[in-house]
Each structure stands twice: as C-alpha cells, then as structure tokens.
C-alpha cells in the first residue's frame, strides 16, 4: 500500500467507519480525488460524494 493510501486510510478510520468501506471507495475511484481529500480530513464529504456518484452511475446504467 502506498504511503498516500496509508495516510488516507488512517484519516478515514478516525471516523469510526470500517476499513472495508475505505477500501471500497478507493477501489471504485468514486470520487476520483478521494485519497487526496481523505488525507486532508474530508471524510464526510468523500463518503457523501461516493454514494451520490454511485447512485448517479446506477441510474445512468438503468
């Protein structure tokens, strides 16, 4: 795991959420700047944007 992702994971886990959720967000690439924003501490924003982008992707596919 890169140092950048490790730092982002550390920041994410401080919210009390699961590591599995962090790994899923990073794997999905949604939002694209998730790792950078998580390192800056924007956990709530990244989680909200992930679900919004995922919903938009699903709606588009349907």
């Amino acid at each position: 795991m890169s140092d950048e992702i490790k730092a982002a994971e550390k920041a994410f886990l401080k919210s009390g959420r699961s590591r599995a959720m962090f790994q899923g967000i990073v794997r999905s690439g949604q939002p694209a700047d998730a790792v950078e924003r998580l390192t800056d501490g924007d956990v709530e924003g990244v989680v909200a944007d992930y679900f919004a982008e995922h919903k938009a992707t699903v709606d588009e596919e349907e």
């Binding site: 795991m1 550390k10 886990l13 401080k14 919210s15 009390g16 959420r17 699961s18 590591r19 599995a20 959720m21 899923g24 967000i25 999905s28 501490g41 992930y50 679900f51 995922h54």
Partner: protein
C-alpha cells in the same frame, strides 16, 4: 434426532463479485425474542394466546477480531444491498457424528436485513482476546422472515482463525504492566425497533449512540497519586493511549513483531477510578480504572489501525 455443532460465521459484502469471509467463532446464537399477547380475561385459565412480536438477533463471539473490526467498523451498519455494506450474515452449523441418531445435514441461518453493532472486546492477560457483536434482524417488508434456515448447504472451506493477545496497554501515558484484564465495552444503543403495520416482525431500527468505555482490572494499587491517576481523574488523549494487539500464530506462538499483521487501538477520554482498592482474604488486591471515551476533535473516541508491526 441429529446433533449439531457450530462451524463458522460468514460475512458477505456487496461487490462485483461479492466478498465472502468466514470466521472461526467461540460462540454464536440467535435468540428468538418472542413476546406473546396474554388473555386478559378473569377466567382461571387462559384461552387466548397470540404472537405479538418476534425480534430475533444474531449474537457472535469470535477471536478473529481484526477482520471483524475491518468489516464492521465501530459505528454500526445495515445489512442490505447498498454498495460498501455488508450484504448478509450467516451462521453455519454442521451435524455431529453420533451413535443411534439420524444423520443431519449442514445448516445455515441467514439474515439479509438488520442493524449490526459491536458489543465488547475482552482481553485477559495471557489469553486470546475476544470480540462480540450483535445484529438486530429485520424483515424487509414486514412479511419476510428476518432469518431463514437452509439445509444441506455447502460449508465455507476457508475460515479465518486469526487470534490476538493484548500487549501492555498505555493509557494517558501510563503503562499498566500489572493489569489483569481490559475490556472495551462499546455501549452501542439502538432506537426502538419499529414493527410493520399488521406485522409481528420489526422493519426498522437505527443506531442511537456508541459510547465506548475501557475498563482495566489492575493489580497495582499504587496508582492514586498525581503521577498516576488522581482522584479527580486524568485526561487521556489518542497520542497517549495505545492498546497493542499481537497476532498469534496458528500452531505456534506469535507472528514476528516486524510483520505487519498486528493491530492496535487508540482512545481518548477521561481516566478515573471505579474501584480505588479492593482485597479479600488472602487474594491479591486490585483496583478498577475506567477510561470513559469521547471524541477528540473530529476523531472518534476509539480508533483502530490494522496491518501494523507490533511495538508493545
């Protein structure tokens, strides 16, 4: 009649494909939590019995602490089909070989809707730590049963059997070499379960609060002092408080300290005496300290870190 024993517990996470993780368990159960309506007449015997509600829960205790904490987190979550969530919980039981009885088949009990949350993490000196968690099961529409049994199922073949022992804890920059047991009680509370209209199954429940509290049983009575824990309590910050968990080797002792497979927790809060001193007969004296945790800035009261070297 067939006899059964526990086999494993499986967590399935939504994904493409789904991610299945089976863990070894110390115990697991599914209390039915059935409440009945009672005959309110004045007759000496009841003639009316009714089912008022059925609210089963899944309860599990395991030593595979790290993988459960990684999957479930600390703030609870919902079983279901949403991405990045846990899809189902399954308890697997296998028939035991017994003489004179009938042969059984592998059984599974599956829940696909519910609220899961942590119970407590208990670590006694010299023993493997255990973690308990619960899932309040729901009906997806008020009619579908919250838990379903499958017979003749295929049992998981890859089962996580990790276990961990707690290293010397440091709380508020104080080492506790004489601690005998440490328990993290997550004190997860939920909202009242809401039944569906005309239903006996709950359809909704939410997380209310998670208020972790760390309790340390200690044999060192020489702590009630300014340099230890004053009567007026002592603040503990994340940077000053570490609970290191050392991974054990199956069929061995411990995974090498430098190998990044261990995990740790930090916590923040107020450390105070619950019992200042206690002794009876010829047994050793003890005290009990409690770290009542709270958020430190935007950081959760207890934070776990995984895949670490052991520095205890």
């Amino acid at each position: 009649m067939a006899k059964y024993g526990s086999h494993s517990f499986q967590i399935t996470e939504n994904g493409s494909p789904d991610v299945l993780t089976a863990i070894h368990v110390d115990s697991m159960s599914i209390p039915g939590n059935v409440s009945l309506t009672e005959d309110q007449s004045g007759a000496i015997f009841d003639s009316l019995i009714g089912l008022q509600s059925i609210q089963p829960v899944m309860q599990v205790t395991t030593r595979s602490i790290a993988v459960v904490l990684e999957k479930l987190g600390m703030i609870g979550g919902c079983l279901g089909a949403l991405p990045l969530t846990v899809k189902t919980f399954e308890q697997f039981y296998e028939p035991k070989t017994s003489c004179g009885g009938t042969a059984g088949t592998n059984l599974s009990f599956t829940a696909a809707s519910g609220l899961y949350y942590l119970g407590s993490l208990t670590a006694s000196k010299g023993q493997e730590a255990t973690l308990s968690f619960t899932c309040d099961l729901l009906s997806s529409d008020g009619s579908v049963a919250p838990v379903v049994m499958g017979a003749g199922v295929t049992l998981p073949t890859t089962i996580n059997t990790d276990s961990f022992a707690l290293g010397e804890p440091t709380i508020a920059d104080l080492a506790f070499p004489e601690s005998t047991q440490l328990t993290v009680n997550f004190n997860s509370s939920t909202t009242q379960k809401t039944p569906g209209w005309g239903s006996i199954f709950p359809v909704e429940v939410g997380m209310e609060k998670v208020r972790p509290e760390i309790r340390i049983e200690n044999a060192d009575l020489d702590l009630l002092k300014a340099a230890g824990v004053p009567l007026t309590a002592r603040e503990a910050l994340h940077a000053e408080t570490t609970l290191p968990f050392r991974k054990k080797l199956n069929r061995g002792t411990f995974v090498a300290d430098a190998t990044q497979e261990h995990f740790s927790a930090t916590a923040s809060g107020l450390l105070y005496f619950d019992t200042i001193a206690n002794a009876s007969g010829n047994s050793e004296g003890s005290n009990t300290l409690v770290l009542k945790t709270a958020k430190e800035g935007s950081t959760a009261p207890v934070v776990f870190s995984f895949d670490e070297a052991y520095a205890g």
